[in-house]
Symmetry: C2
Subunit: 345 residues, 2 copies
Amino acid sequence: MPIPRAKPTISQVAEVAGVSRASVSRAFTNPHMLGEATVARILGVAEDIGYVPNRTARALSTGRTGNVALVVPDIANPFFPPLIQAAQSLADKSDFCVFLGSSGEDPAQEDKLLSRFADQVDGMILVSSRLPEDRIRHHADARPLVLVNRDVNGIPRVLIDSGVGVAQAVSHLADLGHRRIVYLGGPSQSWSNRQRSAAVHKSARAAEMVVETINALVPTHEAGRQAAGAIRETGATAVIAFDDLLAQGVMAGLSELGLSVPGDLSVVGCDDVLGAATYPALTTVSNRSVEAGEQALSLLLDHFRSGALGDVRFLMDTHLVLRATTAARSLGRQAGVAQPVRKGA
Amino acid sequence: MPIPRAKPTISQVAEVAGVSRASVSRAFTNPHMLGEATVARILGVAEDIGYVPNRTARALSTGRTGNVALVVPDIANPFFPPLIQAAQSLADKSDFCVFLGSSGEDPAQEDKLLSRFADQVDGMILVSSRLPEDRIRHHADARPLVLVNRDVNGIPRVLIDSGVGVAQAVSHLADLGHRRIVYLGGPSQSWSNRQRSAAVHKSARAAEMVVETINALVPTHEAGRQAAGAIRETGATAVIAFDDLLAQGVMAGLSELGLSVPGDLSVVGCDDVLGAATYPALTTVSNRSVEAGEQALSLLLDHFRSGALGDVRFLMDTHLVLRATTAARSLGRQAGVAQPVRKGA
DNA sequence: GGCAATCATGCAACCGGTTGCGTTGTCAAG
DNA sequence: CTTGACAACGCAACCGGTTGCATGATTGCC
């Protein structure tokens, strides 16, 4: 009739079972080193008095914590939760616990979080890091690190290649007759933003379109709404936003200005986080965040087992998801600038 | 010219500074026990060789980990991220790290997570727990525990009282002439669901309305969509859904069935997670998830400091947010049952 | 029947901090 | 000059496990 007030320790199990602490430890970690009968007895006693190995103590001794850290810029941004969910769920299957950190898009904060996590985790996943490259390398030096949507040479990374989808978006707009578009950019430190921006410009150049860039500091609905005015000023007939949140904000802002979508302007988002929930349903670029989360965690686990993995660069492609926010260029809204004749197709 | 390959330990600092390990420890935790000059020297050496106290070792020694756990049923459910964000952000300010767990709406999984977290945290926050009461008590016995949206006597809890808002919704529908409504329920283990269901029934009774209940097992868009058929069969003219996800799914499903909202049926959601993003904009009940997250974490921190806090029951009220998915009962769709005359107002 | 290999288990050091208590040194009061 | 109080710091045990090595007991084999 054991009365386990405080958590039972290995010593108590040892005493009750009449063996040494070492044997108890081995019964849990290396049962084959012990006699079957002994193992059974020890496990039985442990069960009885409700003993369960202390992860902290184990971590201190072995250096392995059984924890991983996941850091994102903003939990509330709907792009991340599915990714987090996927990673956490997979971690769970390998008996890992996951620390979650949200940096609020602030590099300093991100840095602080990583330092705090460093000595309690076996590795970390950095999603859409806003950190300068040298800081990333610094942390990667301390612990196994996997990046998501950030491309740093020599550090394992999984990248959602939105370039493909964005390129499709641009040529789709071109096909609809748009000659002047704006790219509403996201965080300047964001790899995805740079990639999308580059894709827009490159594709637009190929299609001989004019593209103006307006930058939103943070990818939020509100920032998008506020950008609507500036977008109108450009005289563009279509806008590609860094992500769906911004796109949705733009739609709201445009609506307040009395402009209709896609009647007056076409809008395309990115990441497909809102499904078909907006009205009109947002044309956007698909995401692969669930797979990205799984892949990142999977890479990390591989790293734990096999020592180190080389220069992994896992690329996932995307595509345009056509819905209802794009239409042929409205004749009522001319760009007001000389339009180069579009050649080809 | 120190070459700190492996993480420096307290012993190395001690050696370099020419003091005992105890003094180094105290320089960080109890500086006033040491001479000013000594503290300065130790801190200087630590800075030089890049020493930072190991949280795991400290935890083992003191019993305090500096971590908290946060467990939710489903990270991807948009109700939770703002709450998580708020809690994590607040934890951060007190130098706490947060473990995140997602149970996938599964009590067994939730139980497993809590056990895994138990010995590495100072306390936990259980959001919308699906656990039976005795299991909750069991875990609360092991570690300080704060509940969100779950009402268990004697355990600190913060509750978002959606009853008020739901009651407003019902009487709003009554005012619009609806006589027969359906309540599309959520997870049966959910306190919020029981609370909302009770509020619907009570208010409906007061208004002499008939309410049928249909249960969705999980609160997802898909589940809502699939419930649309059953809803139509009831002949009801309005539906109140457990949450916005279900409501949005219902709208999608209704639309597929050729029914319009609010023309044929009125729909009201709960939690206001989608903002005005749906079309038509969803009438719903406000939430307070950010405050709930902050409050929960705050209670936990209080508990750490003051030992134990009594039987806290923090209630936050809500209200109906009128948007565009409710309208007067369509005359074209009679409920097909005898309608009691509504008395009063 | 004696010796070596093998198996099962214990001993004790270690992981990196924290902390109760004892020791040393200093200074002021008696 | 002794004594007492106090400040500053070191000793060593401890937190709860893990693990290299040693030991004693079997067993196999010649």
